[in-house]
Symmetry: C2
Subunit: 340 residues, 2 copies
């Protein structure tokens, strides 16, 4: 399988993270890259550096003010007296319609939904090339050259059009899907990350030309809390084009696969002709977030099920954190897909 | 002048605070009480403990789910494995219409706009009695017994109907104004805190029966950033019934007084018959937040201007932080009012 990755994606190395009112190390470590890349290569992936498709495909999803913010905020933040080493928000608007301030602290709160997406010197560059890896993957799939795996790290599915969150800055899966749509496809995004793909949902919530489906731990008691509930089905023209399939904490392989069948049935009904898999690996029974309990064999079954759709498939890396089986889980998906 | 305060308001002692990505001690210290109470007493204020008017007047302003949250969250939080000592949010919804989660962490993010309003064991009780002090003040003024000063601490004007923020939990000024309105008055809230009264604005934004006016440092580069801009004039029936008068950083007495004249002219035009002054003292040239530059003489002029309206006046304490002149500034307002 073809793989895409750029070395500049190493340049984001976040430190700050807070959960339950306590600070702890940020789990979205650059070291994930070597684990994931090694596993993909073991599964036969051959990596290429993506070409630079420019800001156009990113700006097709994200707002101009958000792009300006993300590009400049670290420099502006660094000039503040007594500023911390990373851009971390401390106040947030109540609604997207609240006024947009000029200050760095205010804009940080406007554009960062949580404290899990600190921004430092290399963040823009890493996020930019993470998106370029997804764009290159979309172009590869669109050309009919076979399936592809984009090692998009930092991940993307928690990023809205104008809002970072949950380790994510650019919505790589959404950018890839829009890239496919612009080339005449009718794409679906199937998100198997243990966390709901809230940014992806938000981006396409009013649209009927890109289907969004997410399988995840029930957000009533799991990040991202405010999104991913079954009643969120889309709005306006998009009504019915968003499908959330929340699962109880600790759900294992068999129940997971039954849910995946429902998801894939919706993808088929939609008339999808190119599938973007938002490939989180944190549904693993070994993942530190402990949301679901998918085994290595379960990941192989997920890969096989994707293959059996018969669709052109682009895998875009999302979450999945350091554990003894992180690499093995990716290898199982890709091996399962290739043997499916 | 009559004063209202309850000793249980000491029971909130917040620790966590973050600005510019750096943690520092929370400025809204209980010690503010002794400084403010002593100064008010020097100005002739005689304090009484407020009677318990119950939750009704508070629930007239705040939502049921917010009241439930505020009352129970510390207990629920304390039961979480590895929870921090205070309830501090780490993820926030993008809009008030996003789904409402069950988890304590999720609800904290839904109901706390920032990291400046940590909740601990005594927070509910302190906020409850802070609101009761304001309610008792409103009843005193409504009875025609003269002006009153409610030493409402923790403060209130950053609290929305369902959202704490900026040291605030219950919107004491808003609760007092609604209490007056329910007794047949046509109240205005004039907020002279250096920070925009965003919660108060939000609560009354669609209403024409309570006028909200705020004079504050320009939020383009000052907390609360997303609210307090001049173009925010109210919506629907409330259009024209919210007036924001942002001032440049460092504005001194003369320009401040000219702006106060505009504010009071609007209060008069509204047909106000009972004035709630949201009395922050942090417009002081000595305040640690350094937003505006009102001198002690300026505070005396503010007090005199309030008196010259001829209206029944309730002063509700808002912000103003420990400095060499915090007490003196309060005394100047009250002395100025009584001599005006």
């Amino acid at each position: 399988m073809k793989g895409f990755f750029d070395e500049r994606q190493w340049n984001h190395d976040p430190k700050h993270f807070m959960a339950n009112g306590v600070a702890s190390p940020n789990p979205e470590q650059p070291r994930r890259i070597e684990v994931l890349k090694g596993a993909a290569e073991e599964a036969g992936c051959v990596f290429t550096t993506p070409p630079d498709a420019g800001l156009g495909p990113i700006a097709a999803i994200h707002t101009a003010e958000y792009l300006t913010f993300l590009r400049n905020i670290y420099t502006r933040w660094s000039r503040m007296d007594g500023a911390g080493a990373e851009v971390i928000p401390n106040i947030h608007p109540a609604n997207r319609t609240d006024s947009y301030p000029k200050s760095a602290v205010g804009q940080a709160g406007y554009h960062q939904a949580d404290t899990a997406c600190p921004i430092a010197e290399g963040t823009w560059e890493a996020a930019y090339w993470s998106a370029q890896s997804a764009i290159a993957g979309a172009d590869f799939v669109a050309a009919g050259d076979g399936p592809a795996y984009a090692l998009s790290r930092p991940p993307g599915h928690h990023a809205f059009a104008d809002l970072a969150g949950g380790f994510c800055f650019f919505n790589n899966s959404g950018i890839a899907a829009e890239r496919l749509r612009a080339q005449g496809f009718r794409p679906a995004i199937l998100d198997v990350d243990v966390h709901h793909g809230n940014g992806t949902q938000g981006i396409f919530y009013h649209r009927e030309d890109v289907l969004t489906v997410s399988i995840h731990a029930d957000p009533a008691r799991f990040y991202p809390f405010f999104w991913g509930h079954a009643h969120e089905r889309g709005e306006g023209a998009g009504l019915g084009y968003n499908l959330n399939l929340p699962l109880e904490r600790g759900t294992g392989d068999d129940d997971y696969m039954r849910t995946l069948d429902r998801a894939l049935a919706r993808v088929t009904d939609f008339g999808c002709d190119a599938l973007v898999v938002a490939l989180g690996l944190d549904a693993s029974i070994d993942d530190p977030f402990q949301g679901l309990a998918v085994t290595q064999e379960g990941f192989a079954r997920i890969g096989r099920a994707m293959k059996q759709t018969g669709l052109p498939v682009l895998f875009v890396q999302e979450g999945g954190y350091i554990s003894d089986t992180l690499g093995a889980n990716l290898r199982q998906v890709l091996d399962g897909f290739q043997s499916g």
